[in-house]
């Protein structure tokens, strides 16, 4: 009898949000995310029950991938945050905190889910149209003429990953490197005639070095075992500059017969050995390479030792076992076409060019540095990242990749948003003001009562402010000014009296509003119902010099994160029934 196993019935849960167990789990998740948020976020150590690797992180990607929940609603939220991160690489924690906070506020307010969903949806539209306005007070144009705003953007990403354990100076160094690498991959010149193709950054990580040793090189660093670096290779630099010809093979040049398929070979007595014949062909290929004056001979796979020897004897630089990962960057950089057939002669157009190559010692490793032939081909650059240990290095690597992604997003949309919680407080003030003044019409068009609408509005605005509040972990106080509605974090220990100007820091969270240049500001603690009679003012550019922004967030990522958070909260509120297949 075959193994017919009985399928268990599914477990059904009615109105999951009203169950205390589910609520507890969601609160826990919310606390985890909140405590990781921001530059002062706390680190989390994740280790599983069978031992092994211990993960130390505070980034949403690593954390959410490592922590899995059995609760379906949490699974859903986690999946959507990870999906958002895979597209935008930023604002994962922001999405999570906002989403949980929205759900929480709706539950506390006692609004019916269908009503709350409608209100949230409408307020989200208000927010997105506000952020897309030209004169939106939280938007800052990214100026490509100076790299200052780009560096700020990169530093905001890198500094919000405390698990990298970087000092202020190191943060600045890494951010500058990230922007440098990004700029190297952007092709210069006329971009209107043909579509732009961005270059790429290859990251090489070195453990045990100082962070300040990290560098960016144009071109590629190829890992070459010591034995492959023939003494003659060091002469290459002496031969003078000038583009060298490069041949790149993806097919194995090892001379074995493995790629002939699955059949049998029958060799007649007296016939030459097929392997010899293949080697002959390989040598013929080598001859062609020599006569074509190829200087660099590279292969993704193995090269037959005889061929290697032959080529070296003729002064070629031979690199084998490159691995698939490096092929595409090499093709992109040198313009070579990867050759996949050794039976036919190498077509002349398959050769690529490098400007030079020399051995570079990076940390403990010797690597071959290939220089890009010329501008403006899509440039390839190598970023060498150094850090003291493996865990921090991984985190740093991830942070740099995120920073690169965020910088690339600015190419499509050259705008940034104020960081440091100022966008959230400003937007909350705007939405609250607009919602209150237009409550009657909005409630009418949504078909809900005005009091419900105001309740929903209040929940939405305080959820936004909750995100700004989450930046503070050390028991400090958060203030908001009544004119511009920017966020002013006050460190702990400095007692606060309302309106006591002595205790308020010199600038707001993002650094745009300076206390010294704007007298007459009034403050109130955040997330209290403060009276704001008019819409928050946009910080004018009247003061000279324009204050230096300290924190800048990606516009594209945050806009999407906002939408994802609200939609996900709406979705979770809408779920009335859960069916779990327990097989």
């Amino acid at each position: 009898m075959s193994r017919v196993t009985k399928k268990a019935s599914s477990v059904c849960t009615d109105s999951p949000l009203s169950m205390s167990e589910v609520c507890q789990k969601m609160t826990l998740m919310r606390q985890i995310l909140t405590s990781c948020f921001g530059p002062n976020g706390r680190l989390k150590q994740v280790h599983n029950n069978v031992g092994g690797h211990v993960l130390t992180t505070s980034t949403s990607t690593s954390l959410l991938q490592a922590v899995s929940s059995s609760e379906p609603l949490l699974k859903l939220i986690t999946a959507s945050i990870l999906n958002h991160l895979s597209r935008f690489s930023d604002c994962g924690l922001y999405t999570g905190i906002l989403c949980f906070s929205l759900i929480d506020h709706v539950q506390k307010s006692g609004l019916r889910p269908s009503v709350a969903i409608k209100i949230n949806k409408q307020l989200l539209e208000v927010c997105t149209s506000f952020l897309n306005q030209e004169d939106c007070g939280c938007k800052v144009n990214v100026d490509f003429n100076s790299c200052q705003s780009l560096v700020t953007l990169a530093r905001s990403v890198i500094s919000s990953k405390p698990a990298c354990v970087l000092t202020e100076g190191e943060q600045q160094h890494i951010s500058t490197l990230a922007v440098h690498a990004f700029l190297l991959t952007v092709p210069c010149g006329d971009t209107l005639s043909s579509p732009v193709r961005l270059g790429r950054t290859v990251t090489v990580s070195i453990e045990g070095q100082f962070v300040l040793d990290s560098t960016v090189f144009p071109g590629l660093l190829v890992n070459v075992p010591d034995m492959q670096l023939h003494p003659t290779d060091s002469e290459r630099i002496r031969r003078g500059p000038g583009p060298f010809r490069l041949a790149l093979f993806t097919v194995s040049l090892s001379g074995d017969l493995s790629e002939f398929g699955e059949g049998f070979l029958e060799v007649h007595c007296g016939a030459p050995d097929p392997e010899d014949l293949i080697l002959d062909q390989l040598l013929k290929l080598g001859e062609q390479a020599v006569t074509d004056q190829v200087e660099v001979f590279m292969c993704q796979r193995v090269i037959h030792p005889v061929l290697q020897h032959y080529l070296r004897r003729h002064g070629l630089l031979v690199v084998e076992r490159l691995g698939i990962a490096l092929i595409q960057p090499i093709v992109q950089m040198t313009g070579a076409q990867a050759v996949a057939l050794y039976q036919t002669p190498i077509p002349p157009e398959a050769y690529g060019q490098v400007k030079g190559c020399f051995v570079r010692t990076v940390g403990s490793r010797k690597m071959l540095h290939l220089l890009p032939p010329r501008e403006p081909v899509p440039a390839v650059c190598t970023m060498v990242l150094c850090h003291r240990n493996d865990t921090m290095l991984n985190e740093l690597k991830a942070a740099c990749q995120r920073a690169e992604h965020v910088l690339r997003l600015t190419l499509r949309d050259p705008v940034g948003l104020l960081g440091g919680g100022c966008t959230e407080t400003h937007m909350a003030a705007y939405v609250s003001n607009k919602g209150t003044t237009e409550a009657a019409e909005a409630a009418l068009s949504l078909g809900v009562s005005q009091s419900h609408y105001l309740l929903g509005l209040n929940g939405f605005c305080s959820s936004l402010e909750t995100v700004a509040l989450a930046l503070e972990h050390d028991g400090g106080t958060n203030l908001v000014d009544l004119t511009y509605a920017h966020h002013w974090p006050v460190p702990q220990g400095e007692g606060l009296q309302r309106g006591d100007e002595g205790e308020v820091p010199a600038t707001c969270g993002c650094g745009l509003v300076e206390r010294s240049s704007r007298p007459g500001l009034e403050w109130t603690p955040l997330n209290t119902r403060y009276p704001l009679r008019h819409a928050p003012l946009v910080v004018g550019k009247d003061t000279t010099p324009t204050p230096q922004l300290r924190v800048l967030d990606s516009f594209t990522a945050k806009l999407n994160a906002l939408q994802v958070a609200v939609e996900m909260a709406n979705l979770v509120l809408d779920i009335g029934y859960v069916i779990q297949d327990v097989n």
């Binding site: 196993t5 419900h452 999407n560 009335g576």
Partner: protein, 720 residues
């Protein structure tokens, strides 16, 4: 009734099990809900009649025989059936109607899915009770044909069972058994329901076909139909976006609904990680594969493309063959050279044809990619079959399977070919030159936060297309309408506004028929019923309950036309069925139908009464007089808008806030975007429910067998 208690329903519906020993099998449905309507403690504790095949342990089987003997088989059967269906109904009700919520479903693989699809929810429950499984199977079949009405199916079924129960209790002495009633209902449904709908419902509907341009589809009504359907399957905010996109898609394809239906897998792309608002239509076709060779940057212009279904370079040694080296074949180098030459010749052919895009359904070797890439041809590998089929249909070029006969006719022309990054995937977007017979090809990109959400949207659109197909579908009632002498036969494309209008109208028409029973022309054919019945009985399966009954609905479906044949030929048959049954039957159906609108307005009973009263006034004002169809259609459309507006407000205001403000907005909104639903879908739904009901009630015993004796698989008996 709908407010959620926070209990866990554990549907441990008793499995008709192959594995467990035949002891300790007590309850059919163990239901821990407090607010379930029917299954009282008493009903649950009563054990259904169970018969265990002899397994050596004699005493339990004897005991259960004894219990079975003590109880009234029919009554018991009806109760347990009703109880089972009620459990399903309680689950379905969560996501029914405009205020219904989503159901989150986690799979055993860890995936999370969202759904409001009745069939999906029911199958996800994995119920074990044989009767419940039978119902689920019936729902699945119905919804796979029409794509619609799975939730209403269960509601209607439960409510019909309740009506039957009421009736049998009331009139036990008349011998009106549940099974007979079900048969009478089915017979009524098959014979007369279409007439009733034609008279009572259809005049109040609007037509899907354009009044100015017969043969064309009225896009406005179509959009209303789609939007109403999608509102039952998606959350309201998503439904708006998706229905708008679907309408646009249909209009781009000149409403070739069937074509889109057929090629839908290739016509949509699901992208997760973006808000739903990013969903859009793309011109041309999206080919779900990435370039294997980099796309050469070149200026735009028509591109010649070729679709291939075989590798360009065959493997040198296919498994089992022997290559002889030496002698006439010379060395291996000649083989290699031949290989290279062959590749070169293929490239020359490609160059000769001017092909610069190759769509391959199989993986090509690296050598091919490199060789072809040198000629400036870019290759798409592993293009799935659906994409390739659609490509060849749109371009009119056949895929190449043999390189010997490759010609100009295989070459397709595409207007553009560009890489497309959708979320994590890289696809290719190709465009086609304008063709006059079909619209401009467009593809649908569905975005969502998670895969569960995109899948839900995709599934909803697919079913919407299926539903459209049913609404446009072949006129399966032509014979029935032929018989009626009226000229205003029921239009196949008829659509009626949502919000229970269909049910209200049908309810009243049925009741009116009951009053005017003696005048009405009724054809009842007990003959035909018994004919079909015996047929299905002789066709009895001896496997399992589910199998046997899974087959029954389709079985009767296929026999329905032949039945009508005999019917028309033997119009002079004596009316053998007692006329007493008829009013009872139509009354039962009429009452049962009301449960649907009652559920729609369950959060606000006042709206229900208003909607009901409104439909009544419509009928009273215009009657169902078929003499002035235009007039009544106009007025009815007007009225139905109001009804719809009503539903809209119901969904918006909810139960709590019935304030005056809402009403003003509701009644002032003209209802131009009000939804409609297809009358023919509704008709099929009622028929399917009646068929399911009959097959449910014709089971009287469930036998639990043990698998160790495969020969004793006969689990189930009919009572006749």
């Amino acid at each position: 009734m709908t407010d959620g208690g926070n209990t866990i329903i554990n549907l441990i519906v008793e499995k008709y099990s192959y594995i467990l020993p035949p002891v300790a099998r007590g309850r059919h449905a163990d239901c821990k809900r407090s607010d379930l309507p029917t299954p009282s403690e008493e009903e649950v504790s009563r054990k259904p009649k169970e018969v265990f095949p002899q397994q050596g342990s004699l005493s339990p089987s004897l005991r259960s025989w004894g219990m079975g003997m003590r109880l009234q088989p029919q009554c018991l059967q009806l109760d347990s059936v009703l109880q089972t269906v009620s459990v399903l109904e309680a689950v379905i009700r969560r996501s029914f109607g405009p205020d219904g919520g989503q159901v989150l479903f986690t799979r055993d693989t860890g995936q999370t899915l969202l759904t409001r699809h009745g069939t999906r929810i029911l199958t996800a429950l994995r119920v074990e009770h044989p009767l419940a499984r039978m119902v689920v199977e019936c729902v699945r079949r119905h919804s796979s044909v029409t794509g619609d009405g799975s939730k209403t199916f269960v509601l209607l079924l439960a409510s019909l069972l309740r009506e039957i129960q009421k009736h049998t209790r009331k009139a036990r002495q008349e011998g009106a058994g549940a099974k007979r009633l079900a048969e009478a209902l089915l017979a009524f449904g098959l014979d007369e329901l279409s007439d009733v709908i034609t008279v009572g419902v259809a005049p109040h509907g609007s037509s899907l076909s354009d009044p100015h341009n017969p043969g064309q589809t009225d896009t406005h009504t179509l959009c209303r139909l789609l939007s109403a359907f999608l509102h039952t399957r998606l959350s309201p905010t998503h439904a708006e976006i998706i229905s708008q996109l679907t309408c646009e898609l249909l209009s781009h394809w000149s409403c070739h609904g069937d074509f889109i239906n057929e090629h839908f897998p290739a016509l949509h792309t699901a992208v997760s990680g973006f808000p739903i608002g990013c969903s859009r239509l793309l011109e041309g076709q999206v080919i779900h594969a990435d370039f294997s060779t980099p796309l050469p940057l070149r200026d735009h212009g028509p591109i010649r493309a070729l679709a291939v279904t075989e590798p360009l370079e065959p493997s040198l040694l296919i498994g089992g063959t022997v290559l002889e080296l030496g002698g006439a074949n010379r060395g291996i180098e000649s083989v290699c050279v031949r290989l290279g030459r062959r590749l070169d010749s293929v490239c020359v052919i490609l160059q000769h044809l001017g092909v610069s895009l190759l769509l391959s359904s199989v993986r090509q070797s690296e050598a091919v990619l490199a060789a072809v890439g040198r000629y400036g041809v870019c290759v798409l590998e592993c293009v799935c079959e659906e994409d390739l089929t659609l490509f060849s249909v749109l371009s009119g070029a056949q895929p190449v399977s043999d390189w010997a006969v490759i010609g100009q006719e295989h070459v397709a022309t595409v207007t553009f070919c560009r890489p497309l990054v959708l979320g994590a995937h890289r696809f290719v977007n190709v465009g086609f030159p304008k063709a006059e017979d079909r619209g401009r090809p467009h593809s649908l990109v569905v975005c969502g936060l998670t895969e569960g959400q995109t899948e839900q949207s995709v599934c909803a659109v697919r079913d919407a297309l299926l539903m459209l197909h049913t609404s446009w579908g072949p006129k399966h009632r032509t014979r029935a309408t032929e018989r009626t002498a009226r000229t205003d036969v029921m239009e196949p494309y008829c659509a009626i506004s949502v919000g229970g209008t269909f049910e209200f109208l049908l309810h009243h028409t049925l009741l009116q028929r009951k009053h005017r029973h003696t005048h009405s022309v009724t054809h009842r054919h007990i003959h035909s019923v018994t004919h079909r019945h015996t047929h299905s009985v002789t066709h009895r399966h001896t496997h399992s309950v589910t199998h046997r009954h899974a087959n029954t609905p389709s079985h009767t479906d296929t026999h329905a036309p032949s039945h009508t044949d005999t019917h028309t030929s033997s119009n002079t048959d004596t009316h053998t069925l007692s006329h007493l049954d008829n009013p009872a039957v139509s009354e039962m159906l009429a009452e049962a139908l009301l449960s649907v609108p009652r559920q729609i307005y369950s959060h606000n009973p006042r709206r229900y009464l208003e909607a009901h009263a409104h439909t009544l006034s419509c009928i009273r004002n215009h009657g169902n007089s078929p003499d002035s169809p235009e007039m009544s259609a106009v007025l009815a459309a007007d009225g139905s808008n109001m009804v719809q507006a009503d539903t809209g407000s119901g969904s918006m205001s909810g139960s709590g806030s019935g304030s005056g403000v809402n009403e003003v907005t509701v009644w002032s909104s003209s209802g131009s975007s009000s939804g409609v639903e297809s009358v023919s879908c509704k008709y099929q739904l009622v028929l399917a429910v009646l068929q399911c009901l009959r097959s449910l009630l014709s089971v009287d015993t469930v036998l639990h067998a043990n698998t160790s004796h495969t020969c004793q698989r006969e689990e189930e008996e009919d009572d006749d």
